[in-house]
Subunit: 372 residues, 2 copies
């Protein structure tokens, strides 16, 4: 392999593939980036067995292709070296003793290469009819649900987001069994029924890589993996084995009380009341409605207490006294971008539903905390 | 104590006093802020026994003073509460059972107070003729020397910066015994001889509090403490007991070789060469001069090697091969803001001096590493 390439062009793609390398990986080959220079251009690949990333630089964006070939080299080092080189033309050349020579006018690096045949085969296939999604729609799905995922490895299925398609309806659900986030969107196409679980941390990594533009995100789903294609980039994630719990019966359709509040007032009140809660006590705060007033209160006995008063609209004469985690409520509220917020109740021991009063696309569910 | 005050005015001063509270302090009273409302206005005070901070809000900036008095309250909580309240007028009132009531239209906080007489007496005195320094000059002194301070508690005197005044010359020195930074400035006044050691971490905290404006920084020096006065703020730091090593003989006046290089080229070369060094090997890089070329090189055997080539000006026919820590060199270089950089040598086992070719105000000394 021998080529000349502009620093900024190579760097842009290294910024993507470096995300496929886990800093904690003990298997040296999984800390590497594979360079594959063929007649089309330069492919860069990385994998940590959880995700794989493949990017492409077209031949026309390469200054000079002198000799085709493959090399596998430490990801961290090649990334830092190219990052610190000036924005000039960089010469990259495989030399004797499986070394990679990277040089400009004043700088000359020699890196030891790993064996090309030890680099995992990425098996990146595509399907004829992928699912197409707007990039910003996809990012919203992840941002509005991922926080509700469990971080406990004891129930692996809950560490992912459930993507379920029936007809043209895509439902994305995350839950840690104390709260649940569900986003529903209508696809522009009909798809065969799908019910898969994608690791949340891979989806978050993916949202960081996707830049907003008008091109669609392609999603190719296989038995044990999912492939996302956008711009010049392919990302592969493994799927989580197992059956996602049926959450459809958890979200009630009838409620005994609904409260509508100004979004910012409600958010700020919960945020302030959360100051006098602590994790040991599950960040418990109380919500107490009387007529059209809501009082939000909390206390840490050795520190003090707080009361926040809000004017709200109600749809029934019923009042409620209920307690919940202020942290979970703030997480749920952050997923909305609306002027008002609606809270739905069925008494003090049943789940609380949080939603935009004008839309059912996004549902946040929070279990109450029994305080007596 | 009872007053009404605008949120932003109180917050501005809380941002200063909160810095006097160590998050790690196990003595509850040292996690508190003391409010002292008297006929002049409101004083806020904090101390962690390492530093003490006192700020002042003039009576004319307070909406209403209803009752004078003192309270001592948890710093973390009062800070977070005021920070999260809207920018409105806040009512603060001491109520029965030594509680502090903090309220606006919709929010009402009750905080337990600590005993006023348990709060340490800050003993903030001033001297008739303090040392006056431009704020930016003072910040430069700290930024250009503090990094060379030792972090090892085994030699406490080296964890501070030595301030030494003779006549009108102020010399500030920091060293961890492997490198040394010395900044010399001429004061606008004559002062009695002074030779003190100020804890570096307190000085760094101080530079974060000082905003650039035309007012001077007042420095009041006592036997076991130092007091800095600026804007409405007083900061007190303890001094480190002990005798600072005499470093005057460490810096040679004659050199067998001087090399002058473009600053950016030299910095970037060291920075890139540092990629192939590691901490276990003291980040060792080599500098090798031949004629008007300098080659900077380093290697990690299992990863690879690097060579950087630079054109330099020399004042003698002598060549040098010397090794040093790339980390120490980069730290030293960052303290300069010049187009060129001068390196002074006396052979490969004697200290390297780094300086601006046009000024002797700032001297950086680095011990070489023997590599054979």
């Amino acid at each position: 392999m021998k080529l000349k390439i502009k620093q900024n062009i190579l760097m842009e793609q290294l910024n993507y593939v470096i995300r496929g390398i886990s800093s904690k990986n003990l298997i040296p080959i999984l800390n590497c980036i594979k360079f594959e220079l063929n007649n089309d251009g330069l492919y860069l690949m990385s994998t940590d067995n959880e995700i794989s990333i493949k990017t492409f630089i077209d031949k026309k964006d390469i200054e000079e292709v002198e000799e085709l070939g493959d090399v596998v080299v430490s990801g961290k080092y090649i990334y830092d070296i190219v990052r610190k080189l000036p924005n000039e033309i960089i010469n990259i050349e495989e030399v004797v003793d499986s070394k990679l020579l990277i040089y400009t006018n004043n700088s000359s690096f020699n890196l030891n290469c790993n064996k090309v045949n030890e680099f995992p085969n990425l098996e990146i296939e595509k399907q004829k009819n992928p699912i197409l999604l707007d990039k910003c729609v996809f990012k919203n799905i992840i941002n509005q649900t991922s926080f509700a995922t469990s971080t406990q490895e004891s129930r692996p299925v809950l560490t992912g987001i459930n993507f379920k398609i029936q007809g043209s309806i895509l439902e994305c659900t995350a839950t840690d069994s104390y709260r649940l986030a569900k986003k529903t969107i209508k696809l522009d196409q009909e798809v065969n029924d799908i019910n898969i679980i994608i690791p949340t941390k891979n989806l978050i990594e993916l949202t960081r890589m996707i830049k907003d533009n008008d091109e669609k995100l392609e999603i190719h789903i296989f038995n044990n993996k999912i492939i996302f294609v956008f711009d010049n980039i392919i990302m592969l994630s493994r799927l989580i084995n197992g059956t996602y719990p049926d959450t459809s019966k958890l979200i009630p359709t009838d409620f005994s009380l609904s409260i509508v509040s100004d979004f910012n007032h409600f958010y700020d009140s919960i945020d302030r009341a959360s100051l006098l809660t602590n994790e040991a006590d599950k960040n418990t705060i109380k919500l107490n409605s009387t007529g059209n007033k809501v009082i939000i209160s909390s206390n840490i006995p050795e520190i003090g207490n707080v009361e926040e008063t809000l004017d709200v609209e109600k749809d029934s004469e019923e009042d409620i006294k209920i307690a919940f985690s202020s942290k979970y409520m703030l997480d749920a509220l952050k997923s909305f971008d609306s002027e008002k917020i609606k809270l739905l109740f069925n008494g003090e021991v049943k789940p609380i539903i949080v939603k935009n009063p004008d839309s059912d696309d996004l549902i946040q569910l929070i279990l109450p905390i029994r305080t007596y």
